[in-house]
């Protein structure tokens, strides 16, 4: 294939990747009541969406879960990454496999198994309806801890451990070595991992769908249920806001990782997830 042909193909793929997203964002600014008939530019649907309790309440729920998930995933993932970096192979390999498993298991399988587990556990401890914000949070942490661990570990292994060794040789314990040497150098990777975990949780549909129970609704669940009645301008406005938030998180994560000098490798690594 000629180089020009390949170039044209590449351009077309980018158009294909971005057109649908841009269509949603553009139509969010449609002043009319109908999605598909343009009646002039307006931001009214953003206002309407933000005044609608059935959108803002799920938004709050989603933000709380995503934030809690990011914090817990960062703690668990970073600890795991530090431990894995220098473990003996017979412990490391199965743990590695376990972490990867949480990422490659089809989400629907994980979602229903978590549902069964929470309901059964509820029966055992005597909680009649255990499903809600907590179960969503717990389930999200499972795969997001792996995401953080993967990113932090790539950075930790990549940067070499000579400074850590020097710190130990100079008499620091693990805790003060971590605080004074490792943490400052890992901070960009932890932050990037946390932002990624935040977005993954904020955007998650399948897992939340199964473990949310009757009384709890996240924003993606809210959007999904309204799709039964077709797309509405308010939903497009909500989607545009979500896209904006996600984009912001990506840009911050990217800038942070890039400044920490091994951006390209991290970017490739992250996206092997």
């Amino acid at each position: 294939m000629g180089r020009k042909l390949l170039g044209a193909h590449t351009v077309l793929v980018y158009v294909f990747l971005y057109a649908p997203i841009l269509v949603v964002v553009a139509l969010a600014f449609n002043g009319g009541r109908q999605v598909l008939y343009w009646e002039g530019f307006s931001t009214r649907w953003f206002g309407e969406a933000l005044r609608d309790d059935t959108i803002t309440e799920p938004l709050k729920t989603s933000l709380i879960i995503a934030l809690g998930n990011a914090v817990i995933a960062c703690v668990l993932g970073t600890m795991l990454a530090l431990a894995l970096a220098r473990m003996r192979a017979w412990v490391r390999v199965p743990l590695d496999a376990l972490a990867y498993m949480t990422l490659v298991t089809p989400e629907i399988v994980f979602g229903i198994s978590a549902l069964i587990f929470f309901v059964q556990a509820g029966l055992w401890v005597g909680i009649e309806s255990p499903l809600g914000i907590w179960t969503i949070l717990i389930a999200h942490v499972v795969f997001n801890a792996s995401v953080v661990a993967l990113i932090v570990r790539a950075r930790f292994v990549g940067m070499g451990q000579a400074l850590e060794e020097a710190s130990y040789d100079l008499g620091s314990g693990p805790l003060s070595t971590f605080r004074q040497v490792t943490l400052p150098r890992l901070a960009p990777a932890i932050l990037a991992g946390g932002l990624l975990a935040f977005t993954f949780s904020f955007d998650d549909f399948i897992t939340s769908y199964f473990v949310s129970g009757a009384g709890t609704t996240t924003l993606p669940l809210r959007i999904f249920s309204s799709l039964r009645f077709g797309v509405s301008p308010a939903i497009n406005a909500t989607a545009a806001m979500i896209l904006g938030l996600t984009l912001l998180a990506i840009v911050v994560a990217y800038v942070v990782l890039r400044r920490s000098d091994d951006a390209r490798r991290s970017a490739v690594l992250v996206h092997q997830v």
Binding site: M1, L6, G7, T10, F16, L17, P20, V23, V24, V35, Y37, W38, G77, M79, L80, L82, A83, A85, R86, M87, R88, A89, L95, L98, M101, T105, I108, V109, F110, I112, S113, A114, I116, F117, I138, V141, V142, A145, L150, V157, G158, Q161, E165, P174, P220, L227, G230, V231, A239, I242, T246, L247, I250, R264, A267, V268, L269, V270, H271, Q272
Partner: protein
């Protein structure tokens, strides 16, 4: 794939340290415990309970009785009702994988070999992948609608002749390719980016045609990337739920939809668990085949 190199370097370093006697892991292994606890309790535990559910039976409205037999599996493979769903899922996942490969390979090839500003262009592939799957999927409800402004504008020109895509298999495939393309492109790019293009030039200087050089030099070298990308697309597609639900209008059942149906509507959790177990079994086989292919590649490649 990309983690393999640092990991190898790391184990070399660990061995060297062990020989030098400079003493084991610097950060204690127990740091892994909280995450391991989380995985065991909330991931492996639930999978084990799900497995045992698949040998149980429905009792009453939504309760389960553990009878420990294979009834659910027998029922699943009895007749063609459910085996057709599995076949359809396999076909969809295979076509989806091949389609993303066909579109993604030339794209990744161009990025890796010819493009300037590679990091930025790669980031532009990643951005859609990071944005909400749900939003990306429902955007096609708008685009494939016959009343979509572009479709309306083109209609007087007699193009497209038929715009009845929404809620058909075609719409599902469009959604599949769209959502999974970045997942295919990233490992392909990672493999192509490591390519030493002077090898291709050398082959052509020595008289290979461009096609022959591609087949004999490029392809074997990027095959691991092709396999990794295919796996990353194929695996989640076997459990795909959202795309058929939204773009197929819930009319075409795949394994993922069947599982969801058993859990949310029929409330037959044991039977739903059995379907999920079959999906897991199929994926395990796919992973073993992959591991063998990669192993063979490393052996002879």
């Amino acid at each position: 794939m990309a983690v393999a190199a640092p990991r190898a370097a790391e184990s070399r370093r660990a061995r060297r340290n062990a020989r030098a006697g400079s003493g084991g892991p610097r950060y204690p292994g127990w740091l892994a415990l909280p995450a391991v606890f989380w995985y065991l309790l909330f991931f492996l535990g639930p999978l084990a309970i799900m497995a045992s559910y698949s040998f149980g039976e429905l009792s009453g409205y939504a309760d389960v009785k553990f009878v420990w037999n294979l009834e659910n599996y027998r029922y699943l493979f009895d007749g063609t009702l459910y085996t057709d769903v599995f076949k359809r899922t396999f076909v969809m996942a295979s076509i989806g994988t091949l389609a993303t490969l066909a579109i993604g390979f030339p794209f990744a090839y161009y990025l890796a070999r010819y493009a300037k500003h590679k990091t930025l262009l790669l980031l532009l592939v990643i951005v859609p992948f990071w944005t909400s799957f749900l939003i990306r999927t429902y955007s096609f409800l708008i685009i494939l609608d016959p009343e979509f402004p572009v479709a309306r504008a083109l209609r007087p020109l007699g193009f497209p002749a038929s715009y009845e895509l929404l809620y058909t298999q075609k719409a599902i495939y469009i959604g599949v390719v769209y959502n999974y393309l970045p997942l295919m492109v990233l490992p392909l790019y990672a493999a192509l980016e490591r390519m030493d293009w002077s090898l291709v030039d050398a082959a052509q200087d020595l008289g290979d045609s461009a096609f022959r050089a591609f087949r004999r030099v490029t392809l074997p070298l990027v095959l691991p990337g092709v396999l990794a990308g295919s796996l990353l697309v194929f695996i989640p597609l076997t459990g795909e739920y959202l795309i058929p639900e939204i773009l197929g209008g819930g009319k075409t059942l795949f394994a993922g939809n069947l599982i969801a149906q058993q859990f949310l509507e029929a409330r037959d959790w044991p039977f739903g668990s059995a379907i999920a177990m079959v999906v897991i079994a199929a994926l395990t086989i796919a992973l073993l085949v992959y591991a063998r292919a990669v192993g063979r590649q490393e052996q002879y490649g």
